[in-house]
Amino acid sequence: MQKIGVFVCWCGSNIAATVDVKAVVDAVSHEPGVVYATDYQYMCSEGGQSQIRQAIKDFGLTGIVVCSCSPRMHESTFRKTAISAGLNPYMVEIANIREQCSWIHKDREDATEKAIILARTAVAKLNLNRPLTPGESPVVKRALVIGGGIAGIQSALDIAEAGYEVDIVEKSPTIGGKMAQLDKTFPTLDCAACILTPKMVDAASNENINLYTYSEVEDVSGFVGNFTVKIRKKARSINADICSGCGVCTEKCPSRKAKDEFNMGLSNRGAIYIPFAQAIPNVPVIDREQCIKFKTGKCGLCEMNCPAGAIDFKQQDELVERQYGAIIVATGFKPISLENFDEFSYSQCPDVITSLELERIMNAAGPTKGKLLRPSDNTPPRTMVFVQCVGSRDTSGCGKTYCSKICCMYTAKHAMLIKEKYPDIDVHVFYIDVRTPGKNFDEFYRRAVEEYGVNYIKGMVGKVAERNGKLLVQGSDLLADDQIIIEADMVVLATAIEPDESARNLATMLTASIDTNDFFTEAHPKLRPVESPTAGVYLSGVCQGPKDIPETVAQASAAAAKVIGLLAKDKLRSNPCVASSNEMLCNGCSTCENVCPYGAISYVSKEIRSAGKMEVRRVAEVNEAICQGCGACTVVCPSGAMDLKGFTNKQIMAEVDAICR
């Protein structure tokens, strides 16, 4: 029989205002096994903890129930308290009477009744608890960063600087990401390439960093400290070891039909190409869909002209398997498709463009060599209209419900850059709200208005129609209570951003959670913003939510700091709440093995004495170092041979019984 102590916390008024804590103490003190019960204003305070320690000693408690907040909040606190009083930490149970009770109920009587039920449920379970001892697992001292944009690069650099190996897996042929496509950055207007390319070079030359470009993560198994990741290195059709990056092949390629992704489809590229001048690695790739050699078997001009003989049409995808201690997700974003927003005529008028397309048009390395020209006829525009919130803050189902956060600032940037370079161009910005919280952000926006004379119109555009080569932008001017039509030459849509399409698939592989918009969810929105709830998985950049470059870089370094903290350890304490198989009951059917997501179960032939005779049976064995205690095996086992330590079937049933009593 256990000797159980129950400690009911008031949490100031958080619990005590809604739950009659004295009534809980009184009710629970009659429960089987309970020898001591008390309440206290702040159980997690030093005073509360010392009360617990004292009671453990005075009453020889074998286990304690703390009725307080969510175990996510203070379970580890009270486990430490137990340890310091000589009690096994797994003899501590938490009854969550705050988040699951006092915070969600208004009626004091109802809340008190529920708190009593939750307390006695914890007691019922604790009566069946057994002391558990955690094992240890080693940490692989290498990190994986998925995504090679500014977020991934920054995280990798910081980890590498700390002396750990780090691999970057990037699906496109070069690292750099979206930032490499940008012209200037707000609020300082320095050139994106000037600040990004040195980082790209650093990443490439750092001996601790290993780049897998044109590669994708195909499978992830294992757990914190010991992930096994399969990476597919897609065939570039180039022998990267001997390629000098001279670029002759890209000039000789006769195919010119492919849309240049880097220029947002505003120009064409060859079938063999290097995405941009500062690409890293500076090795071309053959787009097999476009390549004449791959399509018809003829051509091969690149091969003939390559001075290094680096072209390899027969190259195959390569599968690499690597071990990692930690994984950082930095998969970034893309602008949404505008198919639901044809009122802005994006698909019908070439002079209606997205902001990212404008970045390319403004960029010296872009399709117009940095000259602001209309895509339809290559003439300079006289009037430009910017439309904000295209697809953001949209609850109609056409766009995204959230604010994309960066559009207000980059639109102000675009407006200012245009005015700076072409003072004669009229620039109008339709806005709903201008959101500029950030260091020097509002000053920046106001400068666009006050110094550069950008015309900000509060209102939304209802329709863009083309007439005689002009774009008629019909919209609201809410402050003048007017409907206005601006004859524009170009319209720029501040298109909402969404997570890269790879996020969903990756989240499944990592068993990391994503929200309804496919943004990765953080472990705690305030206190653990760069960690995924899945141990060993960290988040960096826009994959977690819209953010600008400084925020992204800050988060990238924060995620790196978390990873460094993990890799600095030699061993991780493993969770002792793992599965175990009762070989007397095991049928050997392999069902548990099939469902185990960690590959922790294997089968052995064993001599079993059953009903007085010996026989050789095929039975399941759990590798406790690999088992993560998810419990999937226990629910599929038909004979009930699998059980989870700390959460045994009996304990769960005892809890259910206590609730239903």
């Binding site: 099939n594 095929r618 004979s639 079937n649």
Partner: protein, 328 residues
């Protein structure tokens, strides 16, 4: 039927004689002409007791769990539908395939004695099967009826005449008529009910249960080393002693234990002395699995992962399951 029996007997005799197999599992005559019983035959001479006719419904695959672990090779007479269970048990590593010689035998569908009696044919002394006709001698004179009028429920919804596992086939070469049916028809009727109606239906049926365990004992899938209902440490067993639990939950827990593994062999309903339509519980789950994860037949092969133990990104979202499983 006589012809195929002759062929089977000859072949079994030959395989015993040449030492290919050491034992045979088949059927012998039971107490009544319609309850032939599974039996082991150790020598050629014993085969005088072997029978095969329309009353050999029992599925022999389950016996192979124990029999295949013994020394020597056993020959098993398996009808097409029995081979699905054989495969499923192979998949679950319960049968030692090396020790079994599967003689796949032709089947025209098995007969339901209750349906024959329901036609007013009583005092049966002999049943002779000729093609699709039955000639029945009774103490009240000779009667005839059509075979397909008196098939067992499981045979009306026959999975087909193909064996999915065998070492050798014995066939008569005659054409076997297929019965057209929709096995989910009754499930659809249940689904169309309100939850109250459905609850009343199952309470009515399950309250007939006398916990004889026949359904569990005959089920080829319900073959755990130790059943949770017999294990006093399993928590479930102790619950089984409290009031009304048996009729309410025994069968439902059993249906969940065989979910994704049940081949729909129909033995549970066939052997139930109380006539509870237990197969409907299994079929409801089979139908749901088909709808949620795509068509799946347990026992079709020996290596695929069952839909309930295989996780894919295409798996149906829980919200859809809740929606479809909810009140109609």
């Amino acid at each position: 039927m006589q012809r195929i029996f002759g062929l089977i007997k000859d072949r079994v005799g030959a395989l015993l004689a040449d030492g290919t197999v050491d034992r045979v599992i088949g059927w012998e005559k039971g107490e009544f002409l319609y309850d032939h019983t599974p039996a082991i035959f150790n020598a050629e001479d014993d085969l005088v007791d072997l029978v095969y006719d329309g009353f050999c419904a029992s599925n022999l695959s389950k016996y192979l769990i124990d029999e295949s672990k013994k020394d020597g090779k056993i020959l098993a007479l398996l009808k097409p539908c029995d081979t699905y269970n054989f495969n499923q048990l192979i998949k679950e590593h319960r049968i030692n395939r090396d020790n079994v010689y599967v003689l796949g035998i032709e089947c025209r569908g098995m007969l339901d004695i209750d349906k024959i009696r329901a036609l007013g044919i009583k005092g049966i002394e002999k049943v002779e099967e000729q093609g699709d006709e039955l000639y029945i001698q009774t103490i009240y004179g000779d009667k005839t009826c059509k075979r397909n009028e008196v098939l067992l429920e499981k045979c009306i919804n026959c999975k087909g005449k193909e064996h999915v596992a065998y070492d050798e086939l014995v066939t008569s070469g005659e054409d076997i008529p297929q019965v057209e049916s929709n096995r989910f028809e009754d499930v659809e009727k249940l689904e169309a009910m309100t939850s109250d109606e459905r609850f009343a239906f199952w309470r009515g049926e399950l309250s007939k249960c006398i916990r004889c365990n026949a359904c569990r004992n005959v089920c080829p899938i319900c073959s755990c080393v130790e059943c949770v209902f017999d294990n006093k440490d399993s928590v479930v067993a102790s619950k089984a002693n409290t009031d009304e639990f048996e009729e309410n939950l025994f069968h439902i827990i059993r249906a969940f234990h065989v979910a994704g593994r049940c081949t729909d062999c129909g033995e549970c309903s066939r052997v139930c002395p109380q006539g509870i339509p237990l197969h409907l519980l299994n079929r409801k789950i089979i139908k749901d699995i088909n709808e949620f994860y795509g068509e799946y037949q347990a026992g079709q092969d020996t290596n695929s992962l069952g839909p309930l133990t295989d996780f894919t990104k295409e798996d149906v979202e829980p919200s859809i399951i809740t929606e479809k499983g909810g009140e109609k």
